[in-house]
Each structure stands twice: as C-alpha cells, then as structure tokens.
C-alpha cells in the first residue's frame, strides 16, 4: 500500500488537521471529529447535519458552508460516525428551528443516526428529522433487505436542500424538499480498480486488466456484476440505462452529475460525461445543469458514477442559488 499518510490508524485525525489548516471558513472539532461553519447561520433557520465514513472527500466536510451543510460528522474510513458525534453536532448547530439529518442508506449510518436522534431528542429537546438517501439503482430494493444505497444523489440533495434551508423554510418544508429530491434522483456507478482502505493495507478486491465492476457503491465493495472492460460509450450505456429504466424523466429538466471515484483523472471524467450526455439526449432527456468531477469518492478507486435528478424550475433555481463551500462554490 502506497499512500500519503503517517499511520493507517491516524489518517482521519491528520486529514482533519489539514482541512482546518486549509479552510479559514471552517471550524474543526478534533475531539468529536466534526466540521462546522466558522460562522453559524442565522437564528431561526433550519440546520443541516450530515456525516458518514471518511474516504468520500469532498463529501461531507467539503459541503459545509453557506448554502449547504452546517456540520459534517466524520467517521473512520468507510465507517459511519458514532451517535455521540452526531448528537454533539446537532446540539451545536441548532438555531431553534430544528435540525435535518441527511443520512446515506447504509445499515451502520442509519442505526448510528437513529441513536443520535433519540439522544438529541431526549437530551436537548432539539427537533430532529431525518432523510435517508437511497438512490443507487444497482441495488434491488425490497422490504426484506437493507434497501438501496445512498450514493451520488447525496451531493445534489445537500446542495438543493441547503439552499432551501438558507431561504428560511420551516423544518417540515425542508424535510418535504429533501424527500422530493430523494424520490426524483437515481445513480449508478462502476469501478476499473479497487480502492485500498489504509487500515486494511491492501486492495479490497482484485480486478483483472480486462474486467470492470458494474453497480458498485462508494465503499470499495465489489459491484453487482463483473463484466468485460468496455469503451467509455459502452460504459456510459451500462450506467445510464438502468437509471432510465428505473425512473421516467419525461420532459422535465434534469441535473446530471458525472462523478469520479477518486483515482480517475478529470480528462477521463469529461470524456465520460460527453458520452453520458449524448446517450441521455438520444433518449430525450433534457439536461438543465451538470456537474463533472470528484464529489463523492471511494478513496483511490478508479471509476465513475452517474446521477440524474428529475428537476423542475424550483429545484433548478435552488441548484443555482449561491453556495460557498470548499467542494461547491458559486454565485456569491
């Protein structure tokens, strides 16, 4: 394993130190591993807390700031944070209007956030509501399983719902907006290589030169299928079709993200986006906005994912609203 680290067991602590040094507009609570806005939002405004395992940067810490999150709780690499972190973050960011927890649908994340919400409600009488993001069409949904994973849509949801909260919407309205975004977005990912978890010290899986994994998540887990390596346009097809097969995008405007998994260079991401956009347009999908880059990653995994969100004028205008985070920044 070759990584720019000091010690596999100190990766998170050291990275938080770097984040703090790099961003004057963030405040880092090292003990609780929480990233906050340096300047809290106005009183009476709904606050947004998210978090999850580390290794997905810029998610979530890179999305703390005006127009998106108020706090991000960082777990160990690929390990959900613990309830005490979330509870602490929740108490700290509450501005009297309630707190929304944005949780990616993984057993660990859901259970830890659940316990945090229970604790927060008991202890400090903060009103906590939760949205569980589950956009990954690679996973078959069922009542009897853990359901779909939360992946790329999380980025879009944090942006759009963050903009809604910034407008002063009530907790109920913010929750409704989050649920709408979650209902209307779908993602699908693929990997060319495994990633290497620092504490594990070697790649999570081996993948021959001529094969790729289709239907991966963001934790270095193997995908649903292992198939023959293909061209960018064949891969684009294999990502876009399950998304279109799962949700009818009709003639709505859409927001499309082509996300890199961390080890794939930007030139390839743009190339992939060209193929993805061409296929979407061939299917009559209208792309109103797009985002190409590394936004929700899986350490050093090579590969990409596609997210398509069915939008409307309101969603597009929330997307366009000013945002000032290290990961997304525009309009202000």
């Amino acid at each position: 394993m070759k990584k720019l680290i000091n010690d596999p067991d100190r990766v998170l602590a050291d990275a938080l130190r770097g984040i703090e040094a790099a961003h004057a507009d963030l405040r880092v609570d090292h003990e609780n591993r929480i990233i906050y806005r340096a300047i809290p939002k106005d009183h009476g405004t709904v606050a947004l807390v998210s978090g999850g395992g580390s290794g997905h940067e810029p998610l979530h810490g890179g999305f703390v700031g005006f127009g998106m999150l108020d706090a991000a709780c960082a777990g160990e690499v690929f390990t959900s944070p613990t309830p005490d972190q979330m509870q602490e973050a929740t108490k700290t960011v509450d501005r009297g209007a309630g707190v929304l927890h944005i949780v990616k649908n993984y057993t660990g994340d859901v259970m830890n956030f659940e316990m945090a919400a229970e604790l927060a409600a008991m202890e400090a009488s903060v009103e906590v509501r939760t949205v569980v993001v589950n956009d990954d069409v690679a996973v078959q949904d069922s009542l009897y399983t853990a359901g779909r994973r939360g992946v790329g849509l999380t980025v879009l949801l944090e942006k759009i719902v963050g903009a809604g909260a910034e407008q002063g919407r009530s907790l109920d309205e913010v929750v409704a907006l989050a649920e709408k975004v979650n209902a209307d977005g779908r993602s699908m990912g693929m990997a060319l290589t495994s990633c290497t978890v620092p504490a594990a010290g070697k790649p999570t899986f081996d993948l021959p030169e001529d094969q790729m994994e289709i239907g991966i998540g963001i934790h270095g887990e193997p995908g649903r299928h292992r198939v023959q390596m293909g061209t960018a346009s064949e891969i684009a097809q294999q990502l876009v079709e399950p998304i279109l097969g799962d949700l009818d995008f009709g003639s709505s405007p859409t927001i499309v993200m082509l996300n890199g998994m961390g080890g794939t260079p930007l030139i390839e991401l743009y190339l992939m986006y060209g193929d993805v956009a061409a296929i979407l347009e061939k299917h009559g999908v209208t792309i109103a906005r797009s985002l190409v880059g590394n936004y929700i990653t899986s350490l050093d995994m090579a590969g990409c994912s596609v997210t398509v969100l069915r939008a409307d004028d309101e969603i597009v205008s929330l997307w366009d609203a000013p945002v000032e985070t290290s990961g997304l920044r525009w309009g202000r």
């Binding site: 160990e76 613990t82 005490d84 660990g108 259970m111 853990a146 994973r149 978890v197 504490a199 594990a200």
Partner: protein, 214 residues
C-alpha cells in the same frame, strides 16, 4: 449446580479481555472477510472498539454487571461506528440491564441476559435467521446454551455448547445470500463467503467458553 458455577465480575472482565485478544489477533482475517462482501473494516472496527473497552474498563473497574456492561456498550457505541458499533453496543447494554446490579451470574442468568442482548440486536437491526449476519451465530449459540442448561449442564458445558453452535452458525453463513447489511448489495455474489459479523460473534462465544472452562 455448585455455587462456584458462576461467572463473576472478574470473569466478565476476563471474557472481554479474551474477546479483545481474539479480535486483535484475527483483525486481518475479519477485514479480509469484510473485503470479500463488505468494505474491509470489520477487523479494524472490532479491534478499535475492544481496545477502547478494555481501556475504559481498566480505568474505572465496575463492581456490578450492569455497571460493567453499560460501560462496555456505551464505549462500543461511541468508538466503533458502522453497523457493528450500534449492534454490539446494544448487545452489551441490554445484557447489562438484564443481568442487573449483581456481582456474579449463573448459567441461567447469563443466558437470559445474553438473550436480552440478542433481542436488542434484532430490535436495532431487524435481522432474521438466514439473513447472513451476526444473528446467525448468536441465535444458535443461545439456543444451544439454553438447551444445555435445561438438560442440567454446568456453566462450562453450557458455554462450550454455545461456542460450538456459534461456530457452526458462522460456518452456515457461507452459502447464504445476504439480505441485511452491506453484503446484501452484492446480491447473489454474497454467497460463498463467511459473514464477518458472524465470525466475530463466534470469537465472542469462544472467549466466553474459554474463561468459564472448568
């Protein structure tokens, strides 16, 4: 049943230490299992959690089971994260609540405390038999323990039966298609691998059998 056929606070602490030793020793193996059908962190999670537990327990020794296991449970909940943190945490929290403010437990008391822990795991995680989770090692272990106790077994015999059943339950997870946890995302590809959580649970019962062996 003789009066020495109990497990004391020292015994419980020895159990936790033995579990810590096992997850530390098998850290890479647990991570390897979790690499095949998960996210390659179960070894690190359990090792980190049990190291934290032993540190806490060493710093402020408890005199009753409820105190001890509350510390254990809370430490796991606040240091592990992931799926195993809340699940093992809940196991120990409920175990302690049911055992109560006692300094020792006989086999029956221990078994019913463990079963309360299992119920907590189910309440949190909603796992059922055959979902390919830690449940599949834990439930058979407690069934075997109860059966042994019902047929007059000693504590040592009961925990040995639990250990064997947990190991068998762990092995039985291999062919299963996961329906809960991260492995479920792999669908059919999850078959053919041991479940990491069932494997760490088998280590938990192995540790218990060791410290209660006569």
């Amino acid at each position: 049943m003789s009066t020495t056929d109990t497990i004391t606070i020292e015994g419980f602490t020895a159990w936790l230490a033995a579990f810590r030793d096992r997850v530390t020793e098998h850290r890479s193996y647990l991570t390897e299992l979790d690499s095949a059908i998960g996210d390659a962190d179960h070894g690190a999670n359990m090792a980190r959690g049990m190291a934290a537990v032993m540190e806490k327990v060493g710093a402020s020794p408890a005199t009753t089971a409820d105190e001890l296991f509350k510390t254990v449970g809370m430490t796991l909940v606040t240091s592990v994260g992931g799926a195993s943190g809340p699940l093992y945490g809940t196991l120990f929290l409920r175990l302690g609540m049911t055992a109560g403010a006692v300094a020792e437990c006989d086999a029956a008391a221990l078994s019913s405390a463990l079963r309360a822990g299992l119920d907590g795991v189910v309440a949190r995680g909603k796992a059922e038999a055959g979902d390919k989770t830690m449940f599949d090692a834990m439930a058979p272990a407690l069934d075997a323990m109860d059966a042994a106790i019902a047929s007059g077994a000693s504590l040592a015999e009961a925990t040995a039966a639990a250990r064997d059943a947990a190991a068998a339950g762990r092995d039985a997870t291999e062919p299963l298609v996961a329906r809960k946890g991260r492995a479920s995302y792999l669908g059919e590809r999850s078959a053919g691998h041991l479940d990491p959580g069932a494997t760490s649970t088998a280590l938990l019962f192995d540790a218990l059998a060791e410290v209660t062996a006569s």
